[in-house]
Each structure stands twice: as C-alpha cells, then as structure tokens.
Amino acid sequence: MASTAFPSNRRRRVADWAFRIATLLALVAVIGPVIWVIVGIIARAVPHWQWSVLTTNTIGASGGLKNAILGTLVLLVGVLVIAGTIGTLGGIYLAELAGTRRNGKPRGGFLRSATEVLAGIPSIALGLVGYLALVVGFHWGFSLMAALIVLSVMVIPYIARGTETAIRQVPTTYRESAEALGMSTGYSLRKVVIRSALPGIVTSLLIALAISGGETAPLLYTAGWYTGTPKAQLFHQPIGYLTYPVWTFWDYPSDQAHYLAYDAALILLFLVLALLVVARIIVNRSQRYSEGRRR
C-alpha cells in the first residue's frame, strides 16, 4: 500500500471524531434556536399575561387583542374558502386530469412552472401589488377582500403543490379497481382517489393556514388595522390581525404597548404551532396505515 498517499490511522480517527462532533454541534445549532425563540417569547409574555387580553379590544396601543384574534380567524376562514377551493381543485387537475403527452410526460408543465414561480414571489411584492391594484386601483380601501385575495394568491401554490403530491401517491391499483367495479371517472375520483389523498390535502391546507396566519408584510397595506371587532363587510372596512401589534407596538415607548406586543406574539405562536402540530399528526397517522411508504 502506498503509505505516502494514505493518511495515518491516527489522523483518520481524529478526523472522524471531529466530523461526528461537528455534525452534532450543527444539529444543536439548528434545534437550539427553535427552543430559544419559543421559550424567549413565552418568557416575555407570561409574567404580564392578563386574561382580559382575550376579551377586550385594542385601545390605541393598550387594551386587549380581541379584535386582532377575531380578525386573524376571519382571515384564516376566508383563506381556507378561497385558496382552499382554488388550490385543491387546481392540484387535483394537475395530478389527475391534465393527462399525459404523447411522449409519456405529464401535461400541464406550463401551469406547474407558473405555480412554482408564483411561490417564489416575495410576500412584500404581493402586498405592494395588492395595495396598488386592489386598495387604490379598485377603490376598495383597506379591506378584508383585498387582504384575502393577496393571502390566497400567496398560499395557492403551496396548496396546489401539496394536493398534487398527495394525489400522485395514491396507488394506481386503486383507480384500476374502481374502474373494474364500473365506477364512472368522476365518481371514482371523488370516492376513491381524493378520499385516499385526503390526509395529504388537509395537511397542506393546515400548513397554508399557518403560513397565512403568520404573515405581516402582505397585510400591512391591504388589511390596514382596525381596533374594533371585525365587521361582516368585505370592502371599505379595515380589519385587525395578530401580527400587526407585534410589528408595530414592540418599539413604542410605553410598557403597555410592549406587553400587548408580547401577548400577541404568544397567541400567534400557539396558533401557528397548533396548526403545524395537527398537520404533522395527520401525516403520521395516515402514513402508519399506508403501504410501502416508510421513512
């Protein structure tokens, strides 16, 4: 063996241990901040927490967060309706109905790449366009509708992509069995394919909700900010949301404003974590019983 080209065993062993320790340190550097962020926000909010925050509206830069909590929930429901419908139907079309080209590749390549490009547009660009086109251009003013459209455009790519992936994972034998039983195409799509892919679709919807619930930049100039309880009005009526107090009140001079910012951060954190954890549980439960997909 050419000993000049080959490092000594001692050096190799040291390099190996250094490598293992480095990878573990890297893992700590990734996981540590997650815990630090969560604990840090809880530690700031809990000492001054008052339950009245949940039941009173914001007054100036103090008071409570009822308006913001309800506003965020209204926004989430709206996004679920608009983006959920468009995203899932679009994903179903791309996965199941676009068909294949003569060379065997799936059709809809243009639609798919456009969806991916849309996912790469930064949220502030969507916010600015929403402000220019909807708030000013259509004279909607700061309004629920403008915010909903901007948020929906932002998360539709995620939902479409998640739905498409989930449907593509349904085994082909399911479709063939459905056809052999004499089901029509649409009926088997609804009763067999979509039903099997439902956990994946629901997961992508929950993640989309988590993303839109935590967004600030696209809402600042479309939803505005409103300190009253949200009204059932789509246009010309601004609406409150949880990220606004965090973004605005943290560097106000008064302590009341700071506490409100921390409380909003805490509520937002729990909302988003709950959505993500439920999404993860659904994925795990559905994977436990699915065939051939371990990891």
Partner: protein, 363 residues
C-alpha cells in the same frame, strides 16, 4: 362498460330496483355520476389557470406602476446611493413627462448591496450547519430521536418571521452585541476580507445580526431538503465503503456528498431566494437605512424588501405618487433577481431529477 348503477330501470327489466329509492331519483343520481367528471375537469381547469393569471397580473401591475419611475430614475437607480423623496410641498417638476417633487433623487445601490450582503452571510452560515445537521439526522441516530428533531426543524420553518424578528431584536441582537461581537472585533486579524469584521460593534441592529437571523430562517429549508437527499442515497455504496474500512467522515465526504452535490446546490439556491425576499424580520433587525453601505459587519443597513415595507407609509405623502412608483421599481428589481435565482435553482434541480420542497413549506 356500463356501470350497474347506470342501468336505468324500465329499460333493463332484469335489474332489481334498490329499495327505498324512486326510479326518478336513481336516474338523477346516475346521470350526475356519469357527468361528474365534467365538473372536476372544468372546475379544476379553471382553478389551475389561476396561478399563471395571477402571476401575469402581478407582473403587469408592477410594470405599469414602475415604468414612469424607470424613465425618470434611469441607470442612476442601480448605481446611485442617494434616497431623497424631495419636497412634498414644493413645486412639481416634470422629467420625460412624469411628475415628481422638486429635488427627488433615487438610487438603490445601498439597498441592492445590503440585500446581497445579508443573503451571502446567511448562506455562508446556513449551508455548513444544514449539511452537518442533515448528516447527524440520517447517520447513526436512533430513529425516534431523529424523527423528533426532524419535526423540530419543520416547526422552525413555520415560525412566523415577525416572531423571529421580535426575538432577534430583543434577545439575540443585544446578546451578540454585548458578548460575542466585541470578542470577534478585537481578535480578528487585519487582513483583507476579515478586516470587515473590525470596528465599532453597535447595539445589535445591523448587517451581521440580520445575516444570522436570515440564516436561522433558511436553515430549515436547506436542512430538510438535504436530509431528504441523504436519505435517497442507496445504502450499497455506503456499506461498500464501510466494508473497505472507511470512517464515517470518509464515507460522507467521498460517497454521500458527491452523490447529492447538485441537489444541495439546488436547495441552497432555494434558501437564497427566501433570504433575498425576507421582509419583516430584516426590517426589524437591520436598522432600516436607505442610503448607507455599512463600512463594517456590525453597522445598520437596509435591504430592498425591508425598504419597501418601511417606506410605503412615507411614500404616500408624495402628492405626485412618484415615491410609490419608485417603490414599485424597487420591487421589480427584487422580483427580477428572485426570478433569476429561482429559475437557476429549478434548472439545477431538473437536471438532477430531484424535486425540491417548495420554498418555505415546512413539510
């Protein structure tokens, strides 16, 4: 082939009618079932067209609003460093037929440089950490612990950026400025690249803190994609390496890494795209300056996205609307950079046949 449910009662006497269903109702449902795929096809088709249409409208709106600003600001916009809105109450000036306030002058060089600097720092920090963490998660880790840690990374990807910004400015920034930056600044040798890390350390608002926080936000994207890549490396070459007496480090460096190299490049570019477009956290941490290229790594600066979100309020004061048009031009610059970066990533990923996770999606 005809389905059993489609057999219309009356036309085929051999089929028994289901109990409790009138023939009319059955005809109705069977017609719907036979036509149902039209609904999925048309509804799905219309919905699948929404993203391209939205994309086209976004580009159109940005272009229409930015074009007058492009005409007035010219190339100076990319090379200049001044950012003056002009006198909002003074007389209106016309350049190339576009109205703008007296004395307005826009140059985005500082913002462009700031965006690139902070994203570069983020990538330099995030890439080795992500690869190391992905190695730790795939190799020789008990499966239960590895799964749990994987979920923790996914959750980090989903934490809203405004919360990370709040933590960065209140907790991380002061901590770094008080205890870490002085150590770095005092001990860095005075050689060309590292000289950037000398100088007054400030209060934690600035380039390096922004870069670190951005790194934190893109680590989940790069790490989870890299982990998926590592998991896809077939075990046989690795086992062969082990059988030849290679250590873990040698297997990792000579077998696993070369196998997934181009996929990692794709994942990195995806993370870079996220870092370039990140708005709220950077707006809170960077110090949000518009016309300053920081002389050292600790100084306050600004990025394009942060400038748009912090300046739009003030831009509305400009009665000619020129400040808003300039912000639209700024957004166009950002979107162009991002489109180039993302299509580069997609090109690399497509060439290697690996489907990357969508940007920012935690799962």
């Amino acid at each position: 082939m005809k389905a059993v449910g489609e057999a219309t009662p009356g036309t085929s006497p051999g089929v028994a009618e289901p109990v409790g269903r009138t023939p009319m109702f059955q005809r109705f449902t069977s017609t719907i079932r036979a036509k149902e795929h039209h609904f999925w096809r048309w509804g799905g088709g219309v919905c699948a067209i929404v993203p391209p249409v939205a994309l086209a409208l976004i580009v159109l709106v940005l272009a229409v609003h930015a074009w007058p600003a492009v005409k007035v600001n010219g190339w100076h916009f990319l090379t200049g460093i001044s950012w003056k809105q002009g006198n909002a109450y003074g007389s209106v000036q016309y350049t190339h037929g576009v109205a703008h306030p007296m004395g307005s002058s826009y140059g985005a060089l500082a913002l462009i440089v700031g965006t690139l600097q902070s994203s570069c720092i983020a990538i330099v920090i995030a890439l080795p950490i992500s690869i190391g963490a992905a190695f730790a998660l795939t190799e020789r880790m008990p499966r239960l612990i590895a799964e749990f840690l994987r979920y923790a990374i996914e959750i980090l990807a989903g934490v809203p950026s405004v919360l990370i910004g709040l933590w960065g400015i209140l907790t991380l920034g002061p901590l770094l400025a008080n205890h870490v930056y002085p150590v770095i600044a005092n001990n860095v040798p005075d050689v060309p690249v590292l000289r950037f890390f000398k100088g007054p350390v400030g209060h934690g608002e600035g380039l390096l803190t922004s870069g670190i926080v951005l790194a934190l936000m893109i680590v989940p994207i790069i790490a989870s994609t890299t982990r998926t890549l590592f998991a896809q490396v077939p075990p046989l070459p690795k086992e062969g390496g082990e059988a030849l007496g290679m250590t873990d480090w040698e297997v990792g460096r000579r077998i696993t890494m070369p196998w997934v190299r181009s996929g990692i490049i794709g994942a990195t570019v995806l993370g870079l795209g996220r870092a370039l477009g990140e708005t709220i956290a950077v707006a809170m941490i960077s110090g949000s300056l518009l016309n300053t290229i920081t002389p050292n790594a600790y100084g306050p600066m600004g990025t394009i996205a942060a400038a748009v979100v912090t300046q739009l309020d003030g831009a509305l004061v400009d009665g000619t609307g020129f400040a808003v048009r300039t912000l639209a031009e700024l957004t166009v610059v950002l979107v162009l950079v991002l489109l180039i970066v993302n299509s580069l990533a997609r090109l690399i990923i497509r060439r290697t046949g690996f489907q990357g996770a969508p940007i920012g999606a935690p799962a």
